[in-house]
Symmetry: C2
């Protein structure tokens, strides 16, 4: 199994081991590490880069830090000369859901697929080196497949194996129907790896079954089997659920620097270690050092978190924006003062009005009931002083500063 | 459900009911009879014939009475003006077994498929009216199917439904693997009916699951659903197992008239009713009459069986041959005498020889051990006298008649 590795020079061996340990860092599972070592050895000897596949759903992309866990891992491969294969699963996107049951899976046009792929490519460009990315569309080969080819492909896997997939197992146990075509998707994902001759496939731990399909089918088609690297799923800001847009516990990579910094600072301390490892591009040694300092108490958690926040902003907005966001944060939260620049809101109404009506009229909160909740929770300050009662009659003054939550500040302008 | 039937004239209703009762006679199951009545009503009103599908495996055909059960049923449809669709399943025959495990399912060439289809067509011509047969090859549409079409097709059936097929259920219970491609075959069989727009599909009861697929998929593709007619499986001459070549309990439709007649006469009495209904082309009323006479004892079982045998020979060799076979049978078995014409065998050996060696030397039995068994069972007669002992020393004489079993007679000629 390590025939090539055994033949390396000591320096080459050290290089293979260095890369191996880099790629394994932060990974939940590598299947199997010894094959990854051997592939690295081969790449070092031949000078040929490895091909690292990441499969992407072609539906509307909205990239957040959760996605960057795999992207950061891909970036590590790129920095060592390897090539990323971004595989846009456009074939399935174009056929929609044949049962017609899932409204979510609507049929995408060629233009939508192209647009979404372009968006992925651009957003991923904040992490990846675009020169070392190949963009592939699986419709290129899948739409050519005939029934005869599908029979050959399907002849290489058993029904029992497919039923092992967690969601299938659950539905069988609950006697919920599985349409036969659903069994085709893992096959197609596996076949993509056969065509792309991928050396490695990355995925989140929730992709465990699917990415192993590539390994399975490459072997059946007598190709070298890909190694599978499963990355942990990043918990969201709530510290409980997987980061996702629908849970509103995410940090989008297109978000404003101050928002990004502030959101990171709201992270539970318990998640810091995970974020340092999975969501930053720090050197492996620096990550380990920082985590160690946190564990020994050599660094204050707040300072470590500020470093984390600054790093994340720097990754997506550059050093200057990161520095500015840090200054802004210090000013607002640490010195408890309003930020230098504030949005002006204009007021044409009366000089005396209940606070809740003022907030609603200025549209500072989505609804009156949200305004009520925010005031009751002590989240509204007028000129730095917490508002006490919902129905408090306000004397509206020009230049008055209204603070909503931790990070939203506006200055009221009387329009007379 | 019987909208069209209800609008028929009384005479048309009688005609629909007559055909319905004809087609249901001898069938194990008709799914569902009321749809068949409605299809017949429609055919009577429009004057359009119904299309009756029979699917055939394209591997080497060797047609025996077991096959004719469905052919006789098809013939009934033809006699009332309907059209038979013989569907040669050449697509699967041409792709072989993708797992490579089944040596039996070898890949057939186009020439082999054509040859086998031609043989079917010719052999079936002994029962069917070839002018009312359409020959279809499913490769015509199946080889055009793309993955996209397959996903659509597979989206119209659940995994649970497929696993209900008896042999799948058994294998799951026994934890024997099922390759995913095996799930494709019922889909293809169903899709054939969608393409052919068959009104009715015939099959043996062992085809229950597969022929229902046509109904299932026609509905999913918004076509009129086919009615399914399941015919009983004909037991073989042993009265136990399904008639099949491998069990050597069959009557081939190409067999010699005397052999065919004699084999039929060896049928257990208990199977006569079944054979009268399933294996003859007698009028339905005549069948019922004969069975009734058997049950009441109005006819002797032997006479009924002779009528059955004569009918079967007449169906495949004509009336003259049937008459001759009957005369031959009467002479040999009823008068216990040798037939008029016998094969001569020539003997150049000595005049005294053990019987077993003589039989072997004349090649009257395949091996010495079979000769031994036959003698021990009293199956060998010399000039009408049962041979008693294996090692009996024979005095060989010119013109000596040797009888092996019930129907094989030879006359020995001394070549000096």
């Amino acid at each position: 199994m390590q025939q090539i590795f055994d033949q390396l020079t000591p320096a080459q061996k050290r290089e293979a081991e260095r890369q191996l340990s880099l790629y394994m860092s932060g990974a939940q599972e590598v299947i199997p590490p010894e094959e990854l070592r051997e592939k690295l050895a081969k790449s070092i000897v031949t000078g040929s880069p490895l091909k690292i596949k990441l499969g992407l759903d072609p539906s509307a992309p909205d990239v957040h830090l959760g996605h960057t866990v795999v992207l950061n891992k891909l970036r590590q491969f790129q920095e060592n000369g390897h090539i990323v294969q971004l595989l846009i699963g456009d074939f399935t996107g174009k056929i929609g859901d044949p049962t017609g049951k899932s409204a979510a899976r609507k049929q995408l046009t060629d233009e939508e697929v192209q647009h979404n792929a372009k968006t992925y490519f651009e957003q991923f460009g904040k992490v990846l080196d675009q020169d070392k990315v190949e963009l592939h569309y699986n419709s290129k080969w899948l739409k050519q497949l005939k029934l005869e080819d599908m029979i050959e492909l399907a002849g290489k896997i058993t029904v029992a194996r497919l039923m092992e997939r967690d969601d299938f197992e659950e539905r069988i146990a609950m006697q919920k129907p599985i349409s036969l075509h659903e069994f085709f998707y893992p096959l197609m994902q596996g076949y993509d790896s056969v065509v792309l001759e991928s050396d490695i496939e990355l995925g989140g731990t929730d992709q465990h079954f699917n990415v192993l399909m590539g390994r399975h089918f490459q072997e059946k088609y007598k190709k070298e089997k890909q190694v599978v690297i499963l990355m942990p799923l990043l918990e969201g800001l709530d510290g409980v659920e997987k980061m996702s847009k629908s849970k509103n516990n995410y940090i989008g990579i297109d978000e404003d620097p101050n928002e990004m910094y502030g959101k990171t600072m709201s992270l539970p301390d318990s998640l810091m270690k995970t974020y340092i490892h999975l969501a930053t591009d720090l050197e492996l040694e620096d990550k380990k050092q920082l985590v160690k300092e946190l564990e020994t108490g050599a660094v204050h958690p707040r300072d470590a978190k500020m470093l984390l926040a600054k790093t994340i902003v720097r990754m997506y907005h550059g050093s200057a924006a990161a520095e500015a966001a840090e200054q802004q944060f210090k000013k607002v939260f640490q010195q408890k003062s309003a930020p230098d620049k504030m949005t002006d809101v204009h007021w044409k109404g009366g000089e005396t009005i209940p606070l809740i009506d003022l907030l609603a009229a200025l549209e500072l909160l989505p609804s009156k009931s949200e305004a009520r909740r925010m005031i009751q929770n002590g989240g509204v300050k007028i000129n730095g002083k917490k508002a006490e009662s919902i129905h408090e009659n306000m004397t509206v003054q020009d230049g008055m500063i209204i603070q909503i939550g931790k990070r939203k500040f506006v200055k009221l302008k009387m329009d007379k």
